[in-house]
């Protein structure tokens, strides 16, 4: 039997002549310390990418890339087709895992100085691989053609439209027509299924080829400095003196980690199920609060926290600066220390970016900047705030609720967080300041002067003046006290 297989193998190899180069590739010597758990993320990213291709092809057997039918074909996948929900869930979770692993891989490569000479081009190809992975995540979110996808495209179009002069043309090219419609979904399908995966496969091939040709980055040692003149011979010496064949010396860790990642994706898919689709992509259903997928939440937060005047420049210049910065990195620091122990600025940069993105993502999970559209018709004004109040003050509480103040201001921890909580507002603002704020607005609050009658304003302010914690005196205007004292003492109209 074994002889038979050997003969068949020989027959093929006589024609293909691939056995020798493959053996050379898998058995090439690698520095011993690189057989480490820190070096498994690249192969894990490739494994998840292959998983995405397989599940993606399976989904394409049922999915219909038509704005009229995409949503119902997703429903069919979720509910009618046997295990359709599981394949959708695997593809959705696979997407999240792929982005996460690609980012971890990038951080590891950065902190281990692997982008330095002679691996600059490997890093640059990697930057493009990251951008393509992000492109896959965004276009995949569009293919899940639901309300979030529809309005997400609107956000994309609004951002693209801000490019000077070319903006409207870019929007039409992106949408494939004047509005978000059938042509839009079809072109995102073409991008997600043909264009970007094709490029990804080609770039992954290049990336791997360079890893093989240039060798895996050695474990960085403090004091072992990269110099263009000597690096290649030093690396060669390292692998020939203290090297071990990649297969089987290092590969088992890659294999174990990849298997664990696949199990984790499957476990998430089984436990959490597929993502959406949310409501139908019907633009006449306006009772919706669209939100991007997890990996774009930080952008959602950034877009609401940037000052309006900075937004367009930041949107148009920011990505260019980041991408050019990443591409230039290996040329700006192509030599020198590789070890993170001797590169404090690199470590701080990673920490700063991680904390910033993490904070923005966390904020976007509960969107304190968005009005709560139904808060005014939800929880009533807490009863404890109405104990011992006058009829006028209770009327004010009614005005407060009916005029949707609650959508942006919370009372008793319920309501919007767009504006400050008003439980203790009387301690902060005097009566005059309250009247001015209500009528004229300001500080990101609309002016209500035209929408409140004088009687309503009086009642509302009377209610707001009761909102102070027990034991805290409400804010008072000292000058008014002085005037009142004058009136009492002199009996005049307050003129000194």
């Amino acid at each position: 039997m074994r002889i038979m297989i050997g003969k068949i193998g020989e027959w093929f190899d006589r024609r293909l002549q691939l056995a020798a180069p493959i053996r050379e590739a898998v058995e090439h010597p690698v520095p011993r310390e690189t057989a480490s758990w820190w070096y498994v993320f690249g192969s894990a990213a490739l494994t998840v990418f292959i998983l995405q291709i397989v599940t993606g092809i399976l989904l394409a057997l049922i999915y219909v890339p038509s704005a009229a039918e995409a949503w119902s074909s997703l429903q069919a996948l979720n509910h009618d087709v046997t295990l359709g929900w599981f394949i959708r869930a695997m593809h959705g979770w696979g997407s999240n895992f792929m982005l996460a692993i690609v980012l971890i891989h990038m951080v590891q490569v950065f902190l281990f100085g692997a982008y330095k000479f002679p691996r600059e081009l490997t890093w640059i190809v990697g930057v493009f691989l990251l951008l393509m992975t992000l492109g896959m995540a965004f276009s995949g979110q569009v293919l899940r053609f639901d309300q979030d996808a529809y309005w997400g495209l609107g956000i994309g179009a609004s951002i693209a439209s801000r490019v000077p002069v070319l903006g409207p043309s870019i929007v039409r090219l992106m949408l494939g027509g004047p509005i978000i419609a059938g042509a839009t979904l079809s072109r995102f399908f073409a991008l997600h299924v043909f264009v970007i995966p094709g490029l990804l496969i080609a770039f992954v091939g290049l990336h791997l080829l360079m890893v093989l040709k240039l060798g895996i980055n050695e474990w960085p040692m403090p004091g072992r400095v990269v110099k263009r003149a000597t690096y290649v011979s030093e690396y060669h010496e390292l692998t020939s003196k203290d090297g071990a064949p990649f297969f089987p010396y290092a590969v088992w860790k890659d294999l174990f980690f990849a298997a664990c990642v696949i199990i984790a994706v499957a476990a998430c898919a089984l436990y959490f199920g597929p993502f959406g689709p949310t409501g139908q992509p019907d633009p006449t259903i306006i009772q919706t609060a669209p939100k991007p997928d997890y990996f774009f939440l930080w952008l959602y937060a950034l877009l609401s926290l940037l000052p309006p005047s900075l937004e367009t420049p930041a949107l148009l210049v920011g990505p260019v600066v980041v991408i050019v910065g990443l591409l230039l990195l290996p040329f700006l620091s192509g030599e020198g220390e590789k070890s993170w122990k001797r590169r404090p600025i690199a470590v701080l940069t990673v920490l700063l970016i991680a904390i910033t993105l993490g904070t923005f993502t966390h904020l976007a999970e509960f969107t304190p900047w968005s009005p709560h559209m139904s808060a005014w018709s939800g929880d009533p004004v807490p009863v404890r705030l109405l104990h011992g109040t006058t009829a006028l003050e209770r009327q004010g509480a009614l005005v407060f609720q009916a005029k949707q103040c609650r959508n942006c201001h919370s009372l008793g921890d319920s309501g919007g967080q767009r504006g400050p909580a008003l439980d203790g507002v009387a301690v902060r603002l005097t009566q005059d300041q309250l009247i001015r704020q209500v009528i004229q607005g300001g500080g990101n609050m609309p002016a209500y002067g035209k929408n409140l009658s004088p009687a309503e304003t009086t009642a509302l302010v009377a209610f707001l003046e009761t909102l102070h914690p027990a034991g805290h005196a409400p804010a008072r205007d000292a000058s008014r006290d002085a005037v009142l004292r004058d009136v009492r003492e002199r009996g005049t109209g307050g003129q000194p």
């Binding site: 704005a67 009229a68 039918e69 309005w151 609107g154 956000i155 179009a157 609004s158 951002i159 693209a160 439209s161 801000r162 490019v163 000077p164 002069v165 903006g167 409207p168 043309s169 929007v171 039409r172 949408l175 027509g177 004047p178 509005i179 978000i180 419609a181 059938g182 042509a183 979904l185 079809s186 019907d282 633009p283 006449t284 306006i286 009772q287 919706t288 609060a289 669209p290 959602y300 877009l303 609401s304 940037l306 309006p308 005047s309 937004e311 367009t312 968005s370 009005p371 559209m373 005014w376 005029k403 949707q404 103040c405 959508n407 767009r418 990101n444 609309p446 209500y448 035209k450 929408n451």
Partner: protein, 182 residues
């Protein structure tokens, strides 16, 4: 004489072959690029815009703002529900109207009208507008987009057909008319 200056028969045919393929590629690129950019070229000169009816004026009580739905004039067979578009119609008095796009002037999310407070609010990043569409607060840099309208034979019609985006205002500077210029 060196070989560099003489052109062999074989070399000549190779060069001619490359040139021939280059010519064909260029000729084929013209329709391909034309196809790819057709959505841009078709939109030039308001090619996508038409007058679409919103309904009889009597559907919109004076002093109130109501949601109206129209079908986008440019339709493809695969569009499904996406060609139905919502807009806010404010009847000020008589034949005086304001028709606002549903899309927030910040990033295009659907704004909702609150009659009681007289405000449009956006659920995404918290933009707010007054009843006349002017900016009240939040990240938008301008008021709501307005559709040009006309009232004929008791019917209100608007000029629509293109997704209103903030960049259209920039296009106005370059001579191209924005889709919702008012």
């Amino acid at each position: 004489m060196s070989n560099e200056t003489t052109l062999s028969r074989r070399g000549f045919f190779t060069k001619m072959g490359i040139l021939f393929n280059g010519l064909i590629a260029t000729a084929l690129a013209v329709p391909m690029v034309g196809f790819l950019l057709s959505s841009i070229t078709r939109g030039r000169g308001n090619g996508y815009l038409s007058w679409v009816p919103l309904g009889p004026v009597s559907d919109f009580p004076e002093g109130e703002t109501r949601l109206a739905i129209f079908r986008n004039p440019y339709v493809m067979p695969t569009d499904g529900k996406t060609v139905d578009t919502a807009c806010w119609v404010r009847r000020i008095a008589g034949d005086q109207f304001q028709v606002f796009a549903i899309n927030c002037a910040h990033l295009g999310c659907p704004v909702r009208w609150f009659q009681q407070s007289g405000l449009f609010m956006c659920p995404c990043h918290g933009g707010a507008y007054y009843r006349d569409g002017s900016r009240a607060s939040g990240p938008p840099e301008r008021g709501l987009f307005e559709y040009p309208y006309k009232v004929e034979n008791g019917l209100i019609t608007i000029q629509a057909g293109e997704l209103p985006t903030p960049g259209a205002a920039i296009a106005a500077l370059t001579g191209e008319k924005p889709p919702c210029a008012s």
